[in-house]
Amino acid sequence: MAVEALQSFRVETRTRLSSAFLVVAIAVLAIGFAAPLFSSRVVIQDLFFILTMLVLAQCWNLLAGFAGLVSVGQQAFVGFGAYTMFAAVILLGLDPLVGIVLAGLLAALLTVPTGFFVFRLQGAYFAIGTWVIAEVARLSFAQWKALGGGTGTSLPSGATRDMFGVRWIADLFGWRASQATDVLCYWLALALAAATILFIHRLLRSRQGLGLAAVRDNQEAARAVGVDPRWMKSTVYLLAGLVSGVTGALIYVQKARISPDAAFSVTDWTAYVIFIVVIGGIGTIEGPIVGVIVFFVLRNVLADYGSWYLLILGLIGILVMLVAPRGLWGLFTDRTGIQLFPVRRMLTGASTTKTITGGTHG
């Protein structure tokens, strides 16, 4: 280990495969953008569902997989974002798109008081605390008579049709306004999903991402090397809340009808999301992408079986946890060493090359 050899060291995160994948990803994004031109409205609605669930899954994965914060209360921010958008449209007469932006800002603000409570709790107590807060939010919004109380309400007819950009899309492609609304929502979901994945990848490759991984692995040791665990976790919690709020608002622009039970549903916005992340592979960016596809297929295959649907989902979840605790993507990457979003920093140079292994993160 000659000291002069040290000058030749380089640090790499990209692999040749991941660089090639970047091209594929851009192509997929371009095809996704053009999809409304050659797909039926049902397909676009399905893709919208997949993309919004993917964003929620990425958020939950950031919390649980990268920061060790197992929340079962993210529906608090989905519902809060959705209601904020409804309030902006119905009470203030604003454009739903402005409502979506407001939803993100207010959901981020909401993380301050909720974080104040839940960050006093650890592990399982943290999980229960987040759920309790979501239930409090659901019951509070059920009292808001101007937004329909417990039974909920609908967006005024025309609110989404008059949304910024809908008329322009409708004229350009010769679609009806309702179809143009769906397409606009879909494009926003596509942009949101792409931005979320890109942002999380960049975060993990930054200094902050290293600190986050350190906190997840060993909080006491992280403190001893100058990382502030509380700041790390609060920031991630805030970001996940913000993005979940935006996603909730977007989902409900497309649904156009809201009720407290649906908007704050622990099954729809947290249980399914956890299922997606767990079967796909927790602690990886690829995991939720694989997971959401599997989830969508299962949902369609089992759609006619009523409550068997949930039973089978649960069974598959348990099986995957037992057989492949790091999910389907973990199983795949263990066998092949392939990573599409590599975050591991590899030190390369003469004396280390022979020991470089394609180990996986998280």
Binding site: L6, V11, G211, E220, R223, G226
Partner: protein, 239 residues
């Protein structure tokens, strides 16, 4: 002026006093050894210096500033680096990434600036060949070396070593002592808790003896080892 000074520092857990009015000063560039039987409060003393445990009374001064109420992160940034008695690696990160965390946060530097430093610390501690392995896959010796390497990556002014030679073979221990001597020669101040006395005494110039949380002796290693109190309490030899 001493780089680190403790003034009447005390800590109790319930009725048990683990640190009892401890006072001492470490001069800049000095290497001080701490010995004492198991349960004497040696590791607790380290945790009080790093801020992982808060003092009940007394004052900790580092580099001219009162750090008694500062959290561990701030003390690390100020220049206190430590190893843990039971190694605490970031298991899912690679060995190299373990050092990157310490260098980018503990020394407040950008990733690009520190990779060469991290590589040379890995070379010095004999971990370069394992740079890209997950830290969770390391053996005990390698974990202990990683503790030392990670502490060094924070560029500490004072390095606190907690039983870093324990459980090693004689040859491994000898290597480690040489590494620590080299670090000390470059100007780092060191406080080293150790049961392996010949390793300790080949580095330090003063010894502090702790028993039941109290300092019962501090001075030159020869003088301390010869004192009757140490022989009775620490070595268990009836004189």
């Amino acid at each position: 002026m001493p780089i680190l000074a403790l003034d009447n520092v005390s800590k109790s857990f319930g009725a048990l006093t683990v640190t009892d009015k401890v006072s001492f000063a470490l001069q800049s560039g000095e290497a001080l050894g701490i010995i004492g039987p198991n349960g004497a409060g040696k590791s607790t003393l380290f945790n009080l210096i790093t801020g992982n445990i808060r003092v009940d009374a007394g004052q900790v001064t580092f580099d001219g500033a009162d750090v008694t109420r500062q959290p561990p992160m701030a003390r690390c940034l100020a220049g206190i680096g430590r190893t843990f008695q039971i190694p605490q690696p970031f298991e899912k990160l690679t060995v190299f990434e373990n050092l990157l965390v310490a260098a980018t946060f503990g020394a407040r530097k950008r990733e690009g600036e520190v990779s060469d430093d991290c590589a040379s610390i890995l070379a010095e501690t004999g971990l370069l060949g394992r740079a890209n392995q997950p830290a969770g896959s390391l053996s005990l010796l390698q974990r202990k070396r990683l503790e030392l390497a990670r502490a060094l990556a924070t560029q500490p002014k004072v390095l606190l070593l907690d039983e870093i030679a324990g459980g090693l073979t004689e040859a491994e221990c000898h290597q480690l002592v040489e590494t620590i001597q080299a670090i000390h020669r470059r100007g780092a101040s060191i406080i080293w808790i150790e049961h392996v006395l010949n390793a300790l005494n080949s580095v330090v110039s003063r010894l502090l003896v702790l028993n039941f949380g109290k300092v019962i002796g501090i001075g030159e290693p020869d003088e301390i080892m010869a004192s009757q109190a140490v022989r009775e309490i620490y070595l268990g030899i009836e004189v």
